[in-house]
């Protein structure tokens, strides 16, 4: 076998051993991913299945009772209080006892009986406006259905039009499907970045870097030796989380696996490039952790992981072009849910190739010029 091949194997093996034989490094590779998968997988959820509601029903009629029983029957809603006075509304919302209060007008049933509209008022706690809007949508749906039924029963009026809604790719709109596919990108980025960003700093701190530089090994090989473990560990963890997403969280995988793994590979390559850049600049491990952290937080926030890029101001949207995670998230979500393949996704691939090439070249340059 070729000597340079054997040399690269030896270098990569050394990196692996240095990582895996150390208790705290092992912990970093295993602990955070598990914690994050569980936390994100179960806690990071936009679906509301326990909306706390108080009902203030001033109307003794049948219609209002039916409305209340519909609300109570909804699986997502938990009616906690039935109140009798208007003055009770304020404290319930102020104190966060309920997310919303439903106020049924005293003339509700009477109005409906004479063919007019009965008024229902919703008062929502806007301290988390996103949650408030989601809750509002749930209640609107219930009332919409009820409206159509009553119109049909009472007036045999058909609805002016039927809205036939269909959500593509995520038919039941599970937010878990969205979050967990995102975690594959998030976790592999964190792990790969930490592994590569710390590797040179650790050698510098322990003095082994000098020992390595006086050997005849060319810095280029050292760089490859440093890049390989991050890449491999990222691939393995990525594959493991993809497996969990499919078999544990039951998320459909509809598209081309080849496109997914090619995307993962390119994404990891750019993460390794960024990691090595941080690594080349930082002298101590603490600086490297901080550097990785300062890259990670914006990279995650600007990637569209939790909030859509389209909602960001234009200037910020331009910044997201530099974020490799942005491209990978499109790829993985598309492959998982939309059944995407290479043809559809190629606009996501080439920016990652460019980021990877630039960051690796940059890392190589920094590496050469900051060797002492």
């Amino acid at each position: 076998m070729n000597h340079s091949f054997l040399l690269i194997i030896a270098l990569a093996l050394k990196e692996f051993l240095a990582l895996l034989r150390d208790k705290s490094s092992r912990f970093v590779l295993i602990g955070p991913p598990i914690a994050q998968l569980l936390v994100f997988g179960y806690a990071a959820n936009y679906d509301l299945d326990n909306i706390s509601v108080a009902i203030y029903n001033e109307d003794p009629g049948i219609a209002s009772r039916e409305l209340v029983s519909r609300i109570e029957g909804s699986p997502n809603i938990n009616v906690l209080y039935t109140i009798e006075k208007e003055s009770e509304i304020r404290p319930l919302i102020d104190n966060r006892d309920v997310l919303l209060v439903m106020h049924i007008d005293s003339q509700f049933s009477a109005n409906i009986a004479i063919g007019e509209s009965g008024v229902v008022q919703l008062l929502l706690d806007g301290r988390n406006s996103n949650t408030a809007m989601i809750a509002l949508n749930y209640l609107r749906d219930i009332i919409l259905v009820l409206n159509e039924e009553w119109r049909y029963q009472n007036l045999s009026q058909a609805p002016p039009a039927i809205i036939e809604e269909r959500a593509w790719y995520n038919e039941n709109l599970h937010s878990q499907w969205f979050i967990i596919t995102g975690i594959v990108g998030l976790l592999t980025l964190v792990v790969t970045l930490i592994v590569t960003a710390l590797s040179v700093a650790r050698e510098r701190e322990q003095g082994t870097f000098d020992q390595l530089l006086v050997t005849p090994v060319h810095p280029f090989y050292i760089l490859i030796g440093k890049a390989l473990p991050g890449l491999l560990i990222g691939l393995i963890e990525g594959a493991a989380i993809i497996g969990l997403a499919v078999w544990w969280f039951d998320i459909p995988l509809r598209g081309s696996l080849f496109a997914l793994y090619l995307g993962l590979f390119l994404f990891l390559l750019s993460a390794v490039g960024v990691g090595l850049m941080i690594s080349a600049i930082c002298i101590t491990q603490q600086q490297a952790v901080l550097g990785a952290f300062l890259f990670l937080v914006p990279a995650v926030i600007l990637s569209g992981f939790a909030t859509p890029i389209a909602n960001m101001p234009d200037m910020v949207q331009l910044l997201t072009w530099l974020d490799p995670l942005k491209y990978f998230l499109v790829i993985i979500r598309s492959v998982f849910l939309e059944g995407g393949g290479l043809g559809l996704l190629w606009p996501q691939f080439w920016p990652m190739v460019i980021i990877a090439l630039l960051s690796l070249a940059m890392a190589g340059w920094l590496f050469k010029h900051r060797m002492y």
């Binding site: 093996l13 050394k14 240095a18 034989r21 322990q206 006086v214 005849p216 060319h218």
Partner: protein, 578 residues
């Protein structure tokens, strides 16, 4: 009057994974008031553990520890507020200035504000730190840090002062100054001092010595009591025909020689018995030996005591791998007007020297003298600011990778992969030096055999005893049979036994034609060098053979000064000139 420290039946063990390590075993001793006691022992003997137990920082398993009449385990806080302790790394805040460090310890120890000005003045004068009060502690040289650490420990003169290896990695001038300060304090305030050290020459400065080995007290007494037992067994052997190195090599292999150490132009020998006729007879009659008796010193006693403990058998089996070249005078390393600047600061200025094939060439100097910077430039780890250098005909920084194949390197601090096992480290470096498959196996077997690493094959490198770490580093540096060996303070912090072993191996290498460039703090080690340069504040102070150096410092008297005396003399000369 009670004793300031009374330790009886003290035992202490640590849990390390499933294993339990007995750090101290049945230790008994007392310290006498108002004198300096040395705690001496090889690495891993339990010196630091004992110090920490005395400070109440470790709970103990059994026994009783009384410090200043208080129980160190139960009344730890009381003890801690009464003693002063300087830990190994001096306990300084590197991002605080000299003054701020002092202020902190003055505050912590409750020195009244109105007394400070006078106290600081005395301390600054004593330590010579007065011009540097605004400098950050991290920017001080090792010697100055150590003096600042001592000053912090002395802001309020304690009844008991504990110093844990205060002189490790510190140059002779600073060491001497530290001792002066300690003695002055003892005289003025009558404090009791316990000081641990790996420098055996310092033992002679102590009123009493406690010799610790593998957690047990081997002996306690004055240094003279130790060396008395060797009366009539210590000799200086010289020969016109043999170099000291050859002589030492021959002598150290003999069973009736306990220890052989190069000293000046001869070899200092401890013999097994009081007669040396057998030694003389063992050499061919063509070789004339001049044997004269010398007075034993503490180091002699130490070595012979520990060797009796069955500790140690030097095996210099680094069998030669290459033919000695004919061209013995070939210049291998050439340094010409070397300069290195860091911003405004000139770390190395106008340094020139040459090293010939097969020489052991020493780079001596105080901390911050520019030794390590010079060294790093030679190894190609640091670019030069000006000047030229060549190692085996090239500048390693710009040379093709293959040029580095000729060079072996051993860094100042242990710098192999700590969580890789011995065998994994060897394998990796063998690959890094382009040795694969059969050749790799062969060299690894060689390394394990020659450096007696067999018992530690699977042990993590960072868990090795210091002496073994040093062997492993040495093995790695020799993996690829280099022509040139760079050794940066290879023996710093290593106990005397391991140092002897190390030099035996280095001597053997040099004898077989390997060029060795070495830096060291230990002045007695300069005797091993063929030639050396002494550096101070970035420039070369003197250059030549050890003998030439000593002659420079020789006053009217007949006695040749020791290397350490010569060194201090040269440094002080420069101080006066500059």
């Amino acid at each position: 009057m009670s004793f300031p420290v009374e330790v009886s039946d003290l035992s202490k063990s640590f849990k390390s994974g499933a294993r339990s390590i007995q750090a101290l075993e049945n230790v008994n001793f007392k310290l006498s008031r108002g004198q300096v006691t040395g705690l001496i022992g090889p690495d891993g003997a339990g010196k630091t553990t004992l110090m920490r137990v005395l400070c109440g920082l470790f709970p103990i398993d059994t026994g009783e520890v009384k410090v200043l009449g208080l129980n160190a385990t139960t009344d730890a806080e009381e003890v801690q507020s009464k003693v002063s302790y300087m830990p190994q790394r001096f306990g300084l805040y590197e991002d605080l200035s000299v003054q701020e460090n002092l202020d902190l310890y003055a505050d912590l120890k409750g020195l009244a504000v109105e007394k400070r000005a006078e106290c600081y003045q005395t301390l600054m004068h004593l330590t010579g730190l007065a011009p540097f009060t605004d400098r950050l502690a991290g920017k001080l040289s090792g010697g100055m840090k150590q003096k600042l650490g001592l000053a912090c420990a002395l802001v309020v003169p304690p009844e008991l002062l504990l110093l844990d290896e205060p002189t490790v990695g510190v140059d002779p001038v600073s060491r001497r100054e530290l001792w002066e300060i300690v003695y002055q304090q003892v005289e003025e305030t009558g404090m009791t001092v316990l000081l641990s050290t790996a420098y055996l020459d310092e033992a002679e400065r102590c009123a009493e010595v406690i010799l610790l080995h593998e957690g047990k007290v081997i002996n306690q007494g004055s240094p003279e009591q130790f060396s008395e037992k060797l009366q009539g067994k210590t000799w200086l052997i010289e020969s016109e025909q043999l170099t000291p190195r050859q002589l030492q090599l021959a002598l150290s292999k003999r069973a009736d020689v306990v220890d052989a150490l190069i000293a000046n132009e001869g070899v200092r020998v401890i013999s097994g018995s009081t007669e040396v006729a057998s030694i003389r007879k063992s050499f061919p009659s063509s070789i004339e030996l001049k044997i004269s008796a010398v007075t034993p010193i503490f180091e002699d006693a130490f070595i012979s005591l520990l060797k009796k403990q069955g500790l140690h058998e030097v095996k210099t089996a680094i069998a030669r791998h290459k033919e000695k070249t004919e061209n013995a005078n070939e210049v291998i390393i050439e340094v010409d007007n070397l300069q290195r600047r860091f911003g405004d600061f000139i770390a190395v200025n106008d340094v020139s020297f040459t090293v010939k094939r097969g020489e052991i060439f020493g780079l001596l100097g105080a901390n911050g003298a520019g030794k390590s910077t010079t060294f790093r430039m030679l190894c190609g780890l640091l670019p030069l600011s000006a000047g030229e250098l060549s190692v085996a005909g090239v500048d390693l920084r710009h040379a093709a990778d293959q040029a580095r194949q000729k060079v072996g390197y051993m860094a100042q601090k242990f710098s192999l992969y700590g969580n890789l096992s011995v065998i994994q480290n060897l394998r990796f470096y063998a690959s890094a030096y382009g040795l694969f498959k059969e050749k790799q196996k062969e060299r690894i077997e060689w390394a394990i055999e020659a450096f007696e690493l067999g018992d530690y094959r699977q042990a993590n490198a960072k868990e090795l005893p210091l002496g073994y770490k040093q062997r492993l580093s040495f093995a790695v540096a020799l993996m690829h049979e280099p022509d040139i060996l760079f050794l940066d303070e290879p023996t710093s912090g290593v106990d005397p036994l391991a140092r002897r072993e190390f030099w035996a191996r280095t001597n053997e290498l040099a004898e077989s034609g390997v060029t060795v460039l070495v830096t060291t703090h230990f002045m007695d080690e300069a005797n091993y060098c063929d030639r050396l340069v002494i550096m101070a504040s970035g420039t070369v102070l003197a250059q030549g053979t050890p003998l030439e150096m000593k002659k420079l410092a020789q006053s009217d008297s007949e006695v040749l000064p020791t290397m350490e005396e010569a060194f201090i003399y040269l440094i002080e000369q420069q101080g006066e000139d500059g």
